[in-house]
Amino acid sequence: MANNIALFAVSYDSVSVLREFATKHGVRYPLLSDEGSQVMQSLGLINERVQEDHAFYGIQPNPKHVNLPYPGVFVLDAAGTITHKRFHESYRVRDTGAGLIAETLGILDGGHGPEMAADGDTVSVRAWLDSATYCAFQQLHLTVELAIAPGFHVYGDPIPKGYVPLRVEVAPIEGLELRPMRWPSPHPFKVEGLDEEFPVHEGTVRGSLPFAFTAPPGAGDQVIRATVRYQACSASTCLAPAAVQVEMPVREAALVGRALPARTSGA
């Protein structure tokens, strides 16, 4: 795997099921067979409430739905210590590989999806998606990075009235679910002669917005359109508030082993 990270996937499937899956999809990392779910049991990962949950989600009872783990991932450091643990309630929610690696291991050069850049004299904006494709319910990230000229800053939150804080607004799309944008904490900046302190970002600031398309499979390719708003100021001057538009296409992909339903409309 890229960046010399070991990857292991564990399920309750038999070796022969895993062999068939690996052959069909060209999987080269270890798919580990925990037939009987004893290891998952000993780790405390079994979802004891899966039948109840499935009833809630409208899934019919199925004898295969026993001894299933919660879907999720452990991230281990080089010493084998757990640095991150991410589990999801729903089996439909998945992280993208690149998104997970970027977020948990801090690796951002592992290749990512579509990218856009807008260079300005004072502030340059770059934005990218962590994947060029999405599956229904998969969690993707829109990353926005501002490179701010030395001596200048942009405002974070909370900000006194009259100033424009750094914001990313994503145009609504049916089925698009946005989670809160995460920025690093701003630091206080004091303007000489004023009592107030302002929360500001300086240098390079990078924020990440998790999102998912929750429409049923077959919703089709999408374009994420976002507006990045900020106001750049120095100790002595404030530039006019700016708005940078970014647009990134993201193609719908089928879940592994599944086909997308045929499109019924000409959208």
Binding site: I5, A6, V10, V15, V17, P30, P69, F74, H88
Partner: protein
Amino acid sequence: MPLPPRDFRTIGPNEGEYFPNIRLLDQTGTPVDLHTARAGRQALVVFHRSAEW
């Protein structure tokens, strides 16, 4: 009625702990000892539902 939310921090081993060693057969039928196979590398250990359905 909506299901009560779960605290996923309480599921499985915790952050900051050594991941318990596990030893399972891989898709070729070869025993894989997780920490040995990791060979000092960082690792992602993914738990997922069946590959069959």
